[in-house]
Amino acid sequence: MFYMSALAFAAFFVWGMLRLPAFGYYQGPYGDVINSFVVFERHATDAVTAINFDYRGVDTVGEEFILFASVTGVALLLRERRDESASEERARVAEGRAGQTSSGVKVLALAVAAPSALYGWYIVSHGQLSPGGGFQGGVIMASAAIFLYVSGEYLALRHMNPISLLELADAAGAGGYVVVGLAGLIASGTFLLNVLPLGTTGEVDSSGTILAISIAVGLEVAAAFVLLMMEFLEQTLEIRQRRRV
């Protein structure tokens, strides 16, 4: 039954798509209007970032909260009845594992972690100028934490008890976006209205709220992905611990 239906579905889908404009002949007008206005209106040179964080900024509010809700959901699902003693045990296991990392790998990973954090920050703060933005930069910053783990310093990370801190950062980023929106609402009655000076096109502090939102998103995304990874990591540590006992 599936094959018949899938065939019919594909035929139906293609039947509709055959009436699309030919490939390579985008007809507008939405994208063309934005392309012609974006530099003049928003002092931003990356149209995609400008749409993402300003023209269609409300979509991105929803998108950030999808991330936020998913990470909260994962935490809710994976963190059930995890008690403190088990957590201590896991820390010891992590320690045991740390010893196994060879020093060459350790140095290399540490050497990569710092630049990738910096590079992530660069991508976050230059989103309005060049490809990139809060999301991509945030993920790159999060990957710095992964390199830390590879280097065996996960334990150091864990000793700082980062989860509640990360949760705070995650929430601050997501909430920060709404606060930027509300600032516009309070200033002039329009949610997400740009309330910051636009600056000179081509400089980092140009384009007003786009940069503020980009930083909020970068913070949220970085915290969220590190959290996500840590939640899954704790799960694998759980089994190592069990195998030892």
């Binding site: 899938a6 030919a22 490939f23 994208g31 003049f40 991330l67 994962v74 699902l77 899954f232």
Partner: protein, 114 residues
Amino acid sequence: MSIYPWFVVAWLFVVGLWGVISSRHLVHQILCLAVIQSSTYVLLLAIGYKNAAAAPVFATNPPTVPAVDPVVQTLTLTDIVIEATVIGLLLSLAVQAWKRFGTVDPDRLRALRG
């Protein structure tokens, strides 16, 4: 040749669906969803493409240079974020399935249902 992208879109959608219904492993099933989703990326970006146009970044190009549609790119970007998070959520369910029932095979999960 200008309809080739649309066939790729339909192909990815149907192949992904086939993977979902024939899967024997939850993780595999979840990844097949990612294949279906990639068909929507290809569809959107192909729609916004213009022959011989530049990327919608005007750092070096003046705004008068023809550029491809930035809107579909924004939509795809949002879509990718949604993909990453929903897959994360689904995988955490798969981990739970494993923890509780010791299996990630849909057949055996169903058999457990009683």
